[in-house]
Amino acid sequence: MAWPKDVRRGSAWHRVGQLVLFGLVALFFIRAGLTWNRSGIGQLTDMLLFATAAVGLNLLVGVTGQISLGHSAFFGLGAYTSAVLVGQYGWTPGWTFPVSIVLCFAVGMVVGLPALRLKGVYLALVSIALATTFTQLLNWDRLAWLTGGPIGIKGLSYLPPSWTPFDGRADLGKWFFWMSLVVFVICTLIASSMIRSRFGRSMVAVRDNETAAAVMGVNLAAVKTLVFGLSAAMAGIAGSIFAMKLTLVEPVVQFFTLFGSIFLLVMVVLGGAGSTWGPLVGAFIFVYVRDWASGVGEGNGVLGLFEGTRIGGLGGIVFGVLLIVIVFVAPFGAVGLLRKARAKVVRVLPRPPALPTVANAQEPQPPTTVVSG
């Protein structure tokens, strides 16, 4: 039989394919959680937390088309909310998470207000101001009683509660890993459900053509502020867990600064803006490729070149060049690239419409172009 093979969406084979894909990804994480060593699990946990924040940012930037370079502030706000409540007020760690979510949602909605008036670059500028103001606030003496100022808040700990199968301090890494995995999965399910609904279509409509969206009855103000809020809440819960895992917060943590915003945006674009799997793939590439690149120029050199020399900063350059190459090769991100590759093997035909009445409904043709999302 000729390639690519046709598989109809919703058919048994399509389901099997989906199950295999989900299964492999799930297997990877379960195996990692059970067998990887402490530092490996720690890095994978960070990756999941970044991916969670990126899921939120993807809803905002990729799906709704509103640029934000301020998400480090929400990540940081979530982190500081937990840290302050635990460190200064003696709360039990887990209970701080809902507070972070609600607070970040509310602040996110307020911060989303400029998006009602500003577009593109101008909105990006406002959000940059948010990110930089946030780190300034963290360093401000007058707020030091709350935030700890430049020193931050140290000595946080969140030991696994007794109802979990984890054995106290020894399993700390695993505890955070499974917690992050669950939070990531929940956020992804919410995002993916949203994208495939009436509300999700109104998000895309806002991205594609605001005037037409309003004429169709989409409340632009509501969609923009709610998505901003949700997006901030996802960054906030990720930041909260991140802080407890790190055991400290301080203003110089990279993900609380403008760099964090840029990193998250890079993950969204790398993975494939607007797609459900994009944030995970993007965060994965970001964390592991950056890790690999940071070793370049430090130890044995690249392919025997620079042998014995140490070139500080080469890793950053290598990573930057890689980013540029990836964006050129895959304008729709890694997920777009994977889709294109899959289309060579399997072509997914659309589900036949449930039509009771239409007699002249011709068979719909499969799409010929690959579109992200």
Partner: protein
């Protein structure tokens, strides 16, 4: 009773008077043609009704309700849908998704329910089936899963109509639906407009430069020039109105 009453509507952009005290009514079930030279203010009129422009003066009543009290996104739910002259589709969406977005005002899954996936599946099923039916009607069903981006102009013009019909409107505003279509496509379009009017009990306001089409399908024609109404009546009356002839052909010196 009148479906739409436009009363003394003026719109001014800086020094330009786009509409100057325009008034006309449309009755239930009518197809009303709005004609006039370029710049007469026809599209401005549409944008006032769909609440994109705020009029400086005047009132627009829809079944007795003042539309100026309704926010832009509330217009669709009242039963007013429109198409755009220069296409305002959602390019990354498929034709099916575009049409389903047109049905936005008929649904009720909002933020919370979409996140928790409550009632999403049944609403999607209903919207998809209805959208498909409309696409099939307009001969677009074979393209349902193609993104709107990159399809021919004539196809996208039809998609504009499909998307507007998906809202199940009772008043349909068509902004130059025939522009850029071939002769046979224009004939087909006239037939479609007639058909959907009869089938869905629509009232239609039509802006069009294609004279034979407007005169052929309209029950009533309103002619405009420089933001004012210069004639109103049956196609036959308007065609022979000296003001209209002057506006289109110029006056003798």
């Amino acid at each position: 009773m009148s479906v739409l009453q436009v009363q003394d509507v003026s719109v001014r952009f800086g020094g330009i008077q786009a509409l100057a005290g325009l008034s006309f009514d449309i009755d239930e079930g009518q197809i009303c043609g709005l004609i006039g030279p370029n710049g007469a203010g026809k599209t401005t009129m549409f944008n006032v009704v769909s609440r994109i422009y705020e009029p400086t003066e005047g009132k627009v009543l829809y079944r007795g309700q003042d539309l100026l009290d309704v926010p832009a996104h509330g217009i669709a739910r009242l039963g007013i849908a429109r198409t755009f002259q220069n296409l305002a589709l959602f390019p990354t969406m498929t034709l099916l998704q575009n049409t389903m977005t047109g049905a936005h005002c008929t649904g009720n899954v909002g933020f919370v329910r979409s996140a928790l996936r409550i009632g999403v599946r049944s609403e999607e099923k209903r919207m998809e089936a209805e959208a498909f039916e409309i696409l099939a009607r307009l001969g677009l069903a074979p393209l349902a899963y193609r993104p709107a981006m990159g399809l021919p102009f004539g196809t996208l013009k039809r998609l504009e109509i499909a998307r507007a019909l998906a809202a199940k409107p009772s008043l349909l505003l068509l902004d130059e639906p025939a522009s850029g279509l071939t002769h046979s496509e224009v004939d087909e379009l006239s037939e479609t407009i007639h058909d959907v009017r009869d089938q869905f009990g629509l009232t239609v306001l039509l802006v069009e430069h294609h004279m034979s089409m407007v005169m052929g399908i309209s029950d009533k024609v309103v002619a405009m020039e420089f933001g004012r109404k210069i004639a109103e009546g049956t196609p036959h009356e308007v065609r022979n109105d000296p003001h209209v002839i002057a506006a289109y052909l110029g006056t003798e010196v």
